[in-house]
């Protein structure tokens, strides 16, 4: 006896009800509609040496739903028998076809048109359908014909698809007296996170995010969710991230109880390369970025991303997530770089023959001793148009990039070349 089916004559309130009942016997259970569940009963001989006692145990467990139970060597036979016959049906392995033969065709739950067609052919039972040649059925009904024939003979077509149990990784702690401040909470978090992360690791899981709900003494709650760049099952990392988050947004009152819930994800497998440089540990990177949340959350910390435009100085801030290294490459020769003034400093510029000869701006004042330009550029006429005339000028020992805004007028110092 390999498989069993439990059919509830009284439809249970939710599909999970029968599944939960089946999981009391085996973790491999597959719901078939709302009223039937299929069970993989292999390996239960120690607990129930006799199939009848196992079937009776199933009947007893589902007595609230007026159950019909069938045990058979094939899944389809167990399912059809459980739906058709009351009480307990036990079919020895190999005898499924004979036991299914007297069942009416209605047991297959066929569409009405197909059922009427089979009736017109004079077929009434599964045994009569099973006796027909497969070629003939295929010629008349297509692929559906042989499939029905195999079902009528109790032959399985698809494997049992067990629905895995939803994994819950949650812990809660009621405190004997309220805790005020993050330092004592750090010890309590460590106490809860250790077993939580251990449970995650034991099932080959990592937490992609952790939700912390603090119940406060004023009756309210303070909920925070931490989601680092990479999943982790390291309690120290999670504790640090949670504490850093609470430092930034502390609860308004003392804590009376708290609960933690981790969202699991399968552990990643990383194949390291012998010759590539080591990539940063995602956990440590997440922890470091969490410590810098003053910058990262305000959009002032991250990686600069150049924008595909000719507008001078255009860039965007992206999140800092270093990807795979592209391999060694020689950097260009050392260059002068611009130290940008944000926003550009308003300047007063005197001209001589159309070229700047004196510049005065905040922190910069003097005669222009040398210059290069003008370099005119414009763009984005369809959006926020810009047009400028740039000069590189030497003023008082420094090199500066100045420009004249040709649309709005006025001179500005863009930055210092250093």
């Amino acid at each position: 006896m390999l498989f069993g089916a439990l059919h509830a004559a009284v439809v249970p309130p939710s599909p999970e009800t029968l599944l939960g009942l089946a999981r009391e016997f085996t973790p491999r259970a597959e719901p078939r509609g709302r009223d039937t569940v299929l069970l993989d009963l292999r390996g239960l001989a120690r607990a129930w040496p006799d199939p009848v006692s196992l079937g009776e145990a199933l009947l007893d467990a589902g007595r609230a739903f007026d159950p019909q139970v069938a045990l058979a060597g094939s899944r389809v036979a167990a399912c059809l028998l459980a739906r058709s016959l009351p009480g307990l049906t036990v079919v020895p392995t190999g005898a499924e076809r004979g036991r299914l033969a007297p069942l009416p065709l209605e047991a297959l739950e066929l569409p009405p048109e197909l059922l009427a067609l089979l009736h017109r052919w004079g077929l009434r039972t599964l045994g009569e359908l099973a006796a027909l040649p497969a070629d003939g059925l295929f010629a008349r009904l297509g692929a559906e014909g042989p499939r029905l024939r195999r079902q009528a003979r109790g032959e399985d077509e698809v494997p049992l698809v067990a629905v895995p149990r939803r994994e819950e990784f949650a812990c809660a702690l009621e405190l004997e007296w309220p805790v005020d401040g993050l330092e004592p909470l750090a010890f309590l978090l460590a106490r809860v996170l250790e077993p939580l992360c251990e449970a995650l690791r034991a099932r080959g899981r990592r937490a992609v995010e952790v939700a912390l709900i603090l119940r406060l003494t004023d009756g309210g709650t303070h909920a925070r969710t931490v989601k680092p760049a990479a999943p982790s099952a390291d309690p120290r990392t999670w504790r640090t991230l949670l504490l850093l988050d609470l430092e930034a947004r502390p609860p308004r009152d003392a804590i009376a109880a708290f609960s933690l819930r981790a969202e699991p994800t399968p552990a990643r497998t990383v194949q390291f390369s012998l010759l590539d440089p080591a990539q940063p540990s995602p956990e440590r990177l997440a922890e470091t970025l969490a410590r810098l949340q003053e910058w990262t959350e305000a959009g002032r910390g991250g990686s600069p991303v150049l924008i595909d435009t000719h507008r001078p100085g255009a860039f965007a801030m992206g999140s800092f997530a270093p990807g795979a290294w592209k391999g060694p490459s020689a950097p260009p020769a050392a260059r002068l770089c611009l130290r940008a003034f944000r926003p550009p400093r308003v300047a007063r510029v005197s001209l001589e023959d159309g070229a700047p000869c004196f510049v005065s701006a905040a922190g910069i004042r003097g005669a222009v001793t040398d210059r290069a330009g003008p370099w005119r550029a414009s763009g984005d006429w369809w959006d926020a148009a810009w047009s400028r005339e740039e000069w590189d000028v030497a003023v008082g020992g420094g090199l500066f990039r100045i420009y004249r805004d040709r649309l709005r007028g006025g001179w500005f110092v863009d930055g210092e070349l250093d």
Partner: protein, 227 residues
């Protein structure tokens, strides 16, 4: 595996894959290897580059090339697969210039703005994380405020990075701090190179920079920074 055998195997692998100057091997102790600046003449007077686990400084007046030197250092590190950080309290860093200088923006963490004590605290976090090969702290625009920092600030920072394979480089117009094992690179006034005679179409070609390294017997070097 014994240390000599491991070292021999690493040398063999480097020679085999011709990446001797670029990426370190997994698990290799990087601290004895200084971080090359990417400018050979400068590396000669620095004794190979900026030492790891030490606080170094690049000082010089405006347009002396200090930002160019620091950017070249970051470009070299990021191109070799390492991570770099640029802490920029005055928000002066220009990503376009940095990209032209060869910086891999995806491997650069840029922190913009922030009060000076918070910025020093961020440098502490980054240097102590062990994730970055080079951290540049740009104090050029906030140099006057540095005097208001508590006296042990830089000593504490040095202690945080002593065991880490990171070179922390301060950028300033004048002396701020450098640890005993760090380097103090002093840049003098540069000489601008212009193309052709004054007039339309003229270009700023670059600057001729002059540097000195060392405190008691300074070693000079001259190099070019292109514009």
């Amino acid at each position: 595996m014994t240390a000599p055998v491991k070292a021999a195997l690493e040398d063999l692998l480097r020679a085999r894959f011709r990446v001797a100057a670029a990426p370190p091997l997994r698990g290799e102790d990087l601290r004895p290897r200084p971080l090359p600046s990417g400018i050979p003449l400068l590396d000669e007077i620095l004794g190979g580059g900026f030492p790891r686990g030490q606080l170094s400084q690049i000082v010089g007046p405006a347009s002396s090339g200090r930002t160019g030197v620091a950017t070249t250092l970051v470009a070299r590190a990021t191109r070799a697969g390492a991570l770099a950080a640029w802490i920029d309290p005055a928000d002066c860093f220009d990503p376009c210039s940095a990209s032209e200088a060869g910086v891999d923006g995806g491997r650069l963490l840029w922190l913009r703005g922030g009060a000076l004590p918070r910025v020093v605290s961020a440098a502490h976090t980054l240097a102590g994380s062990g994730l970055f090969d080079v951290v540049v702290l740009d104090l050029a625009a906030v140099y006057a405020e540095c005097a208001r920092l508590p006296a042990p600030t830089w000593r504490r920072l040095q202690r945080a990075l002593a065991d880490q394979p990171v070179a922390l480089v301060l950028l300033a117009p004048g002396h701020v701090a450098a640890s005993a094992g760090g380097v103090a690179l002093s840049l003098g006034e540069s000489v601008a190179r212009w193309s052709g005679a004054p007039g339309p179409g003229r270009l700023l070609r670059g600057v001729g920079a002059r540097a000195r390294a060392g405190r008691f017997q300074p070693r000079p070097a001259s190099f070019e920074l292109t514009a």
